[in-house]
């Protein structure tokens, strides 16, 4: 069975009796959002891991730490989440050993872009989200990429995953410039929860990382568990 290249093409992916016609990026479900605040960034993920309609685990985090103040979220097909993370970590470690310095957020974006575009005609089904602070200047940075590596570096927030459309709506209304870390936590937490509550394939709680100059605060939010 050959998976189509463009995620808008649909295919019957289930071999069970109750077949669904879905996009591959929605096979496992999951959502990630990142926001910029005042001298801080926040990135949040839902915790559901499922196979189409069936929920398998409720503790699957799809946001990973790849540097002291650098996080990447990889929503999409979970096998690719895992593989892209492994291959990316390999490249990051080699870079840090060769260059003797930590990867900057924008450099991480370039590396992810390269990794994804290498598979332009048979892509990884992940749409990454990066959030971090520059190791030297401490400038906040967020960006999102599509599955073939096109980056988007806005000044406010980025969203990705099965509830991305609801997330856009929630973030657009709740985000303000220069939110302090605690306010940013509330903003991103509420945006994510209310967005994925309207999505069957995301949810089962959220984990939020707020990244400040001197610390990273990770909080687990309990939401409606369905």
């Amino acid at each position: 069975m050959v998976y189509p290249v463009h995620p808008d093409y649909t295919t019957i992916t289930s071999v069970y009796n109750a077949d669904y016609v879905k996009s591959i990026l929605a096979y496992n479900g999951g959502s990630v959002v990142a926001m910029k605040g005042k001298n801080c960034v926040a990135i949040a993920t839902d915790l559901r891991f499922g196979v189409q309609a069936q929920t398998i685990t409720t503790d699957f985090e799809r946001v990973f730490e790849v540097g002291p103040h650098l996080y990447i979220g990889l929503p999409g097909l979970v096998t690719d989440t895992q593989t892209v993370l492994q291959r990316l970590k390999f490249r990051i470690k080699m870079y840090e050993m060769r260059e003797g310095r930590k990867v900057k957020p924008r450099t991480l974006m370039a590396m992810v872009q390269n990794l994804l575009y290498e598979r332009r005609f048979g892509p990884y089904f992940v749409e990454p989200v990066i959030a971090g602070l520059d190791p030297v200047t401490k400038d906040p940075y967020i960006c999102a990429l599509d599955l073939i590596g096109c980056p988007c570096e806005p000044a406010d927030f980025v969203v990705s995953g099965t509830s991305s459309e609801s997330l856009y709506g929630m973030c657009e209304t709740t985000w303000r410039e220069d939110l302090e870390p605690d306010d940013l936590f509330e903003c991103i937490g509420q945006s994510l929860i209310n967005a994925f509550d309207r999505d069957a394939l995301s949810g089962w709680g959220a984990v939020v990382h707020v990244i400040e100059e001197d610390k990273v605060t990770t909080r687990h939010i309990k939401s409606r568990m369905d």
Partner: protein, 234 residues
């Protein structure tokens, strides 16, 4: 390339443990035109002699001090044609780095990659080592860099160094004249004096080439600028 026909390396150990091909390559370098590099507080200077065998040679068509990226420059002692290949490869390496990381290549990274290429030619089938030593200058992350790359693939960071004909005298001269507080202008002046030590005849803006690298990036000095510095020496 000859590597398709030869599967064995032509650079092999002698009983005393030396790689004679590399020794010979270094001899080719030592017979080449002198080149000097000096690191100052606020920049780096590269200078080289550009003597021509005949007065009929069109001097300004041959360029020895080459730009690799906006912020990195290079000069050599030894065989010109080998140098041209390395310039091309250095430029390619720098652009590939930019494509992968969207960041200008740090000078030490370029030097490491270039040195790895030079080392390949001492251990691959059917090829000979490069007959050049390179002087690479760069400015990134708010500081100057000066490196030398040898035919063996070894690379050295320098504060100041000389290569090519009479390099021993050149280095001795620099050991006396160098100090950590040199500004770029003084460094250019010192570089010209170092070249003068081994120069036969009259120096002019037609037979030496100077490049500088500072926070504004790398550039070659125009003949007029070179003339100004030369006037200060006389």
């Amino acid at each position: 390339m000859a590597t398709e026909r030869y599967s064995f390396s032509l650079t092999t150990f002698s009983p005393s443990g030396k790689l004679v091909q590399i020794e010979y390559a270094l001899a080719a370098v030592a017979a080449g035109a002198p080149a000097v590099g000096i690191k100052a507080k606020d920049g780096v200077v590269l200078a080289t002699e550009k003597k021509h065998k005949s007065i009929l040679v069109e001097e300004h068509s041959i360029i020895k001090v080459e730009m690799i990226t906006d912020h990195i420059g290079m000069v050599y002692s030894g065989m010109g044609p080998d140098y041209r290949l390395l310039v091309r490869q250095a430029r390619k390496v720098a652009q590939q780095y930019y494509r992968t990381y969207l960041e200008p290549i740090p000078t030490p990274q370029l030097v490491q990659r270039l040195a790895a290429i030079m080392q390949e030619y001492t251990q691959s089938g059917g090829v000979r080592p490069f007959g050049v030593s390179l002087l690479i200058c760069g400015w990134d992350l708010d500081r100057p860099y000066l490196f030398q790359c040898d035919p063996s693939g070894a690379y050295f960071p320098w504060k100041a160094t000389a290569m090519g004909k009479n390099f021993i005298n050149g280095k001795t001269f620099l050991e006396k004249r160098y100090n950590e507080d040199l500004e770029l202008d003084d460094a250019v002046h010192t570089a010209i004096l170092t070249l003068k030590e081994s120069f036969e005849g009259q120096m002019s803006s037609d037979n030496i080439e100077i490049g500088i690298c500072n926070s504004q990036g790398f550039r070659r000095l125009t003949p007029a600028e070179v003339q100004d510095y030369l006037a200060n020496i006389a």
